[in-house]
């Protein structure tokens, strides 16, 4: 019997919410690689059965579905995208440089997001002061890492830029809401320059969620968190 060879049309779906910075990473990565995809917007207060079927463990966005194969967790998805579509690589070839990129991506999620998102945005008083102090430490390390480079990935946007990229847009919004300056031009000149570079980069600049909507959303999130009773 003759084997029919045919090329299957690629089917790529991204489950996201309009505001999730994690989901934005996937949008950026696919667009930077020129990969076409369908977007499914989720209302995270009313998750679709399909999302819960695709991500039963974490029940979160983003989820990537590629020809029926489901991948969850943004950093896992990013590596999958980089390995599947090899144009405009997000990770370098050299294992040590690769490890470095992964280290800073993880640092962003484990530390920076906690100190800034958890500590500064969602807290007040002494807890916020502690969050602010922690974020200053974290940003200092990022400042040292980015110094002398256009992007964390070097000349082009890499995995760490995509993982940390939320800082370039969301941070201004958080700063406005809490009335505190985090990435001060004088304190963190290299990081401030990177913010500008990244936020205005092609693809990135066309995909930021609406600023005013984000302000409303995160201000409400802060209020809700503060109204939850006495902090521990």
């Amino acid at each position: 019997m003759d084997e029919m060879k045919y090329s299957m049309a690629e089917e790529i779906k991204v489950f996201r919410s309009w505001s999730s910075p994690f989901a934005l990473r996937i949008i950026w990565a696919l667009k930077l690689k020129g990969v076409e995809f369908d977007t499914i917007y989720e209302d995270l207060t009313n998750k679709s059965p399909l999302l819960l079927q695709y991500n039963p463990i974490h029940k979160k966005v983003p989820v990537l579905v590629h020809n029926g194969k489901v991948i969850c967790e943004s950093l896992v998805i990013l590596e999958y995208i980089d390995e599947t579509w090899k144009q405009n690589p997000l990770l370098p070839e050299d294992p040590h440089q690769k490890a470095n990129a992964r280290f800073w991506a993880k640092f962003g999620d484990d530390k920076v997001m906690q100190s800034i998102g958890g500590g500064v945005l969602l807290k007040e008083g002494k807890e916020q002061e502690e969050g602010f102090a922690a974020s200053m430490e974290d940003l200092k390390y990022l400042e040292e890492e980015i110094r002398g480079k256009k992007f964390f990935g070097g000349e082009t946007i890499g995995l760490a830029d995509i993982a940390l990229g939320w800082l370039a847009h969301y941070l201004d919004i958080f700063e406005e809401i809490v009335g505190l300056k985090l990435i001060d031009q004088e304190k963190f000149p290299s990081l401030a320059a990177w913010k500008q570079e990244f936020t205005n980069a092609p693809i990135i600049r066309e995909n930021w969620p609406d600023r005013d909507k984000l302000v409303t959303k995160f201000a409400a999130m802060r209020e809700a968190n503060l109204g939850k009773g006495t902090p521990k």
Binding site: I57, H66, K69, I71, C72, E73, L75, V76, I77, E79, Y80, E83, T84, P95, H96, K98, A99, R102, F103, K106, F107, Y141
Partner: protein, 222 residues
């Protein structure tokens, strides 16, 4: 090991994160120098090699440090790629491995940390159920395979196996039996401990328990 290769591991004997790196290096047959770190009196070398986190494990390869246990394991897999591959070659399978290793990091590590730092009388029934449910999810993922990696040890095995010597501690504090509640996982641990790369990398569960009790006394929860 190629001539001129210098591989050093900064580690602490009881660390489940350090054990991951030990297993990976053993699987690959990499010769290395192990330097035990005193985490209450951190060495200049540790602070120099991991200035951001000041934590172990740190792998130093030809003078260049790599930090964060799963980042290190992937590095080892990429550098010593000709022997015992830990991650599969197919991108989707790799994604699945990364997902489950991340799950171990987030869920099992978090549960373990809670158990370790909570008084016995404050350990809630709900938390115990959650922990066992999490372990059952791992059992589900293992299925009928001998290892998470299939026929050979893989990335997820390396992430999870150090907990095999910590389960005795959790059983004692939380008052449950892995054999009774998660027999498949229990059998998996026993099976893996028959491999030299695992048994030589893990510590005696009773020594770990003594260490945990000492930690708990220090924290005022024992």
């Amino acid at each position: 090991m190629a001539a001129g290769e210098q591989v050093t591991l900064l580690d602490s004997w009881a660390s489940s994160f350090g054990m991951r790196v030990r297993i990976a290096l053993a699987e690959k047959g990499v010769k290395y120098e192990y330097i035990e770190q005193d985490l209450w009196n951190k060495s200049g070398l540790l602070l120099q090699m991991n200035p951001v986190h000041k934590k172990i494990p740190v792998l130093v390869h030809n003078g260049k440090p790599v930090c964060e246990s799963l980042v290190i394991v992937q590095y080892i897999d990429e550098v010593w790629k000709d022997k015992a591959p830990l991650l599969p070659s197919d991108p989707y399978q790799r994604a699945q491995s990364r997902f489950w290793a991340d799950f171990v990091d987030r869920k099992i590590y978090e549960h373990g940390r809670m158990i370790l730092t909570t008084k016995v009388e404050d350990q809630e029934a709900a938390a115990k159920k959650d922990f066992i449910d999490t372990l059952k999810l791992m059992e589900g993922e293992l299925g009928d395979k001998p290892y998470f990696g299939g026929e050979t040890l893989g990335y997820v095995d390396v992430a999870l196996l150090p907990y095999c010597c910590w389960f005795y501690t959790y059983e004692n504090i939380l008052n449950f039996s892995l054999e009774a509640d998660c027999p498949k996982l229990n059998a998996y641990c026993k099976r893996c401990l028959q491999k030299e790369s695992v048994s030589k990398s893990l510590e005696d569960p009773k020594k770990i328990y003594d260490f945990a009790l000492m930690l708990r006394k220090k924290l005022g929860v024992e």
